[in-house]
Amino acid sequence: MEPSSALARVVAHDTRAGQVLERGREFRRRYLDPVAAEVDRRMLLDPHYHPEELVRRGCEYGFLSLPIPAFLGGGGGLSLHSAVLMEELCAGCAGLANIFGAHYLGISGLLLSFDLNLFDRFLRQVPAAERRGEPLLFAAAITEPTAGTDVEDVDLLPKARLSMGARKVAGGYVLDGRKCFISNGSVARFTMLTCALDRKRPAESMSGFVVPAGTPGFSVGRVELKLGQRACHAAELVFEDCFVPDDLRIGTEGGGARLIEVVLAASRAPVAAIATGIARGAYEAALAFARQRPDGAGRLVDRQWVQQALADMHASLELGRQAYLEAGANFDTRVGGPLLGNPAVTETAMRLSAPLRQSALGLRLTGSEAFKRATTQQVLTRLEHAPVAAALGLSSLAKFSCSDLAVKVCLRALEILGPAGALERHAVEKRFRDAKLTQIYEGTNQLNRQAVFKGLVDGGDAWTR
């Protein structure tokens, strides 16, 4: 499928988006399409299998460092660029693509905290490892076994039945409890997570941490067998008296709820793009089927009902693209922009200060409580509530719209194939299975609708200001 008018417009004005799109297309054609069905089938029998070689290939394309700022050696991509890449990759295989998508989610937890200490200690490692051809994956752990929806919305947090908590001890925190359904959870080198320091006051005490794999007391529990997107592990993470030092806390104590809000505002547009990509894969497969399938003297595509169905599907894809592109661009300009300040100034300042920051003394300074508090006040609190709520509303709108469209498009594609659609060999049923997850993760679509109400409907004209 050629870029729609909306995507073509973006690519025309944004060189990086064009490069990302081209790289994504090549990667899909060379690496995803040939193995997607095989990996999906293999993981049905062995959910612990991790397609590491494919992720390693992603290093050659700079996928793992795409969202990391250039001053840390990364690709400097924004939410919009991650979204464009996700659509392209997910048209091939959403499971494999989501290994990168879940990695971006984990990274965004650090990135959007603007915690310089963690930037220098962790984010900088990603492009460095990538250049060596070593994939260094992140994960984000928010969902808990007894609290999914409630931990993704600050207003719901007070009533959440939390399964996990942290308590302050000398020099750090002790984490106890479980996280579940964590994409990349079993393969990530670093996991960004949020948990409450006081379960009676979760909204006020929710805090973010980064936990390296292998930390004593941190282990991987069950790895789930899923309906779809199988190539990307969904794991249970177990924390038993897991000590995490102070300097692995992200930002300030109690800043976790705000962090989740900003992270979700950034990540729901790429999830909408994942859904759009899955739908596109189903559309392409159905179109190819209809074009080759004999129907009397003609082809199936000659039939009006098929043409109408394909037109509907095409329309859905166009609308989906517009929704996620708008949401991604909105986040980048209204939230990412203020967060980073003037990009040229920030970039220069960060580059110039790098030797000092990355020295032992510098790391001690940026890791200090006073510095973190000052940075948070300077950066996170600089963001007004309204634009964040509006960005969250718009990205949530894109997320639930695109995921609903994706499921519908996949069902139409299955219908075009008819009984053949029930067979794995046509790979449309896989797209349907993959699509269903987009209505669930990153907050169920019901929660996303509430975010739209709060951010766009009840918030009045906030996002147009």
């Binding site: 929806t149 309906l227 129907d295 199936l300 299955l414 659609g421 029930a422 067979l423 269903k436």
Partner: protein
């Protein structure tokens, strides 16, 4: 309690005790071993059309009873229910063609490589009978790996027929085909290269319409049973799961999802039972009613299963909690024997296969 209700109770108990423990494995197994497992599991039921029930002991069941039976089975495992449904279709078609003693299970072969009911009308069949031998490049025949008899829709000269063959050297079965759902139904590509015929029976358009109606009824019943079980599981979860300080069944979006799906499913189910009650061997109206009931059931069952998974959220998506299988089963059953669009068009295209309401 009438006889059918008693049978339903027996079957429900049997499914829970004997079949349920094997369901996860049946869902994972390659189709051929699954065929053996399902046949063996179902043997004690003595259902007609399945191995172990040959001969006079196998009691004949009316279509309405069969519908209730497979629906009951589908509440536990749609794949096993669909296995039984396909076996009944094969058996009853053989009987209608005068081959009541054909070794069971009987698989009936449709086509996959071409549109069987093209826009310009008629039935497009690639399989051919010549010199008392069948040549067919059939694809994806459900039940074929388990079948003792294969009936392949074919043409003999210009006429439609069912060519009956036994599995053997000239009947080549491909590797088991993996299906989205109802994975306990074994399925394989079948290629027949000049196989000798057990029999070749003419098939009128009305016979084809009858078999489509019967398949629609039974697979529609499987879909209904699956969706109802999915909704019941979702409702039970909603009563237990807390969100925002209250159980999620108290949240209006969830309550509405459960209620609306229940209402839609009840409506489709009523249509299906009515069609089953009226289904008769010589009543074209009843065959069309069966097709319409399937057209009504398929999207309703799919929607119900989709929403049931949604109610469970992440748990709904994971294999160990059972709902994702219900969803796969419901969607697959929506496509078999044909999707709702093709069935609806078939129904409207001057009547089912050109037959008017009275055949």
């Amino acid at each position: 309690m009438d006889e059918v209700s008693a049978l339903e109770t027996t079957v429900a108990r049997f499914m829970k005790k004997e079949v349920a423990p094997h369901v996860p494995a049946l869902d994972l197994e390659p189709a051929a071993p699954a065929a053996v497992t399902v046949s063996r599991l179902l043997q004690p039921l003595g259902l007609p059309g399945l191995p172990g029930a040959e001969g006079a002991d196998a009691e004949e069941l009316e279509p309405a009873a069969l519908v209730r039976l497979v629906e009951t089975m589908a509440a536990e495992c749609a794949g096993v229910a669909a296995f039984v449904a396909y076996a009944q279709v094969g058996r009853l078609l053989a009987a209608r063609c005068g081959l009541a003693a054909a070794p069971v299970p009987v698989a009936f072969g449709w086509l996959e490589a071409r549109e069987p009911f093209p826009a310009d009308g008629g039935v497009d069949v690639a399989a051919r009978v010549a010199d008392e031998r069948l040549t067919a490049d059939e694809r994806a025949v459900p039940l074929a790996p388990a079948a003792a008899t294969l009936g392949i829709l074919a043409r003999r000269g210009p006429d439609l027929c069912v060519a009956w063959v036994a599995p053997g050297p000239r009947v080549e079965l491909g590797a088991p085909l993996a299906l989205l759902g109802v994975r306990a139904v074994p399925c394989a590509d079948v290629r027949v290269a000049g196989a000798p015929l057990l029999a070749c029976t003419p098939l009128q358009a009305r016979d084809l319409a009858w078999v489509i109606g019967l398949e629609s009824l039974l697979l529609g019943a499987c879909a209904c049973g699956t969706a109802a079980a999915a909704l019941a599981a979702a409702a039970a979860y909603a009563r237990d799961r807390y969100q925002g300080g209250t159980t999620i069944d108290r949240h209006e979006p969830v309550a509405l999802m459960l209620a609306a799906n229940r209402a839609n499913l009840d409506g489709a189910h009523a249509a299906l039972l009515a069609a089953a009650d009226g289904f008769a061997p010589d009543e074209p109206r009843s065959w069309r009613a069966a097709v319409r009931a399937k057209v009504a059931t398929a999207p309703v069952a799919t929607a119900a299963a989709l929403d049931a998974v949604q109610v469970l959220g992440g748990y709904g998506y994971m294999r160990d909690y059972g709902l994702e299988k219900r969803l796969r089963d419901a969607v697959a059953l929506g496509l078999l024997p044909w999707d709702a669009t093709r069935l609806a068009l078939l129904d409207r295209a001057g009547g089912l296969l050109g037959l008017d309401e009275d055949g």
